[in-house]
Symmetry: C2
Subunit: 180 residues, 2 copies
């Protein structure tokens, strides 16, 4: 992503956090990760992240999703050294998020995703999180998620995060740095 | 603590979380931990906790402190099985909290603590957290903390929590269950 676009996305993200009454420092605001996954279409497919802490034992992030913004299907495989893959808990703080995981597919999914991404969304069991709701995903479980029409702010608590190892269903996805 | 007192403390805690715009479920509200540490003086020395997740890899909690409420000095020792002791990150979400840790003692501490507890507060290096600020405490580090005059809401991200192993400086402290 171009620097100007990243700056625009960071400002928009900070405004969502303000609406959700979540404080971040000016330094954190300047370092918000804008993850477009190399698809060049971040408003539809991507995610904004504030990493609070990521060490050898645990990780905590704030995820910000714009209205109907989705994050592509992926899983967190074993990372070596006895790490069986990242386990993560999503806790909705503001707005609404739908997480799609393996299991009985929902009959009428509420997700609204552009046609070009649909072949790479293979799990359709729908878990809906409103503020105060949370869901824990076992290691190496395929999942994707999308915010509702207002967007969403979601706290992620997890074991150590190793984003670079994530395996995505869509071969076009690249977990590229925020600014190229 | 008596059941009626616990219910009162839980209601007060829920009101603080509401002021801080942090959503919890009705079930979480009914299970808020009121930790008086066996001292029978929770408004001065104690803590309210909502445990979001505590598994074999990580833990996430919301800590609520009433105005000037302090939590007694303690450390998290090695817990066996390769666990070198709980490591924890405190992130202030609302209000103000002062964490006291080993290091250069502050010349004029802002903490206000009843005389009877002071002999058991031995570390006086002061770390002040306002909303958006955070601090990570290495395993087995002695610490205690106190909210400012408005109280505080603090997210705690950590390795697995094993409260029952905590070692307190004050021999009177017992990490008793919320309701006896």
């Amino acid at each position: 992503m171009k620097k100007e676009e990243v700056i625009k996305i960071r400002k928009k993200t900070a405004a969502f956090l303000k609406k959700a009454h979540i404080a971040i420092t000016p330094r954190e605001a300047e370092n918000i990760e804008a993850a477009d996954c190399g698809l060049g279409d971040i408003e539809h497919m991507g995610l904004q992240v504030v990493v609070y802490e990521n060490n050898k034992r645990y990780c905590a992030k704030e995820l910000v999703l714009f209205p109907r913004q989705a994050f592509p299907e992926h899983r967190h495989p074993a990372a070596g050294g006895g790490n069986i893959g990242k386990q993560e808990t999503f806790r909705c703080r503001w707005g609404k998020v739908r997480i799609y995981v393996p299991g009985e597919p929902v009959s009428i999914p509420k997700a609204v995703v552009p046609e070009k991404y649909r072949p790479y969304l293979t799990v359709w069991h729908e878990v809906v999180l409103k503020p105060g709701d949370q869901y824990t995903l076992p290691p190496n479980t395929i999942h994707w998620f999308q915010a509702g029409k207002k967007g969403a702010v979601v706290s992620e608590f997890s074991s150590t995060s190793t984003d670079e190892l994530d395996v995505f269903t869509d071969p076009r996805v690249k977990r590229t740095p925020t600014i190229e």
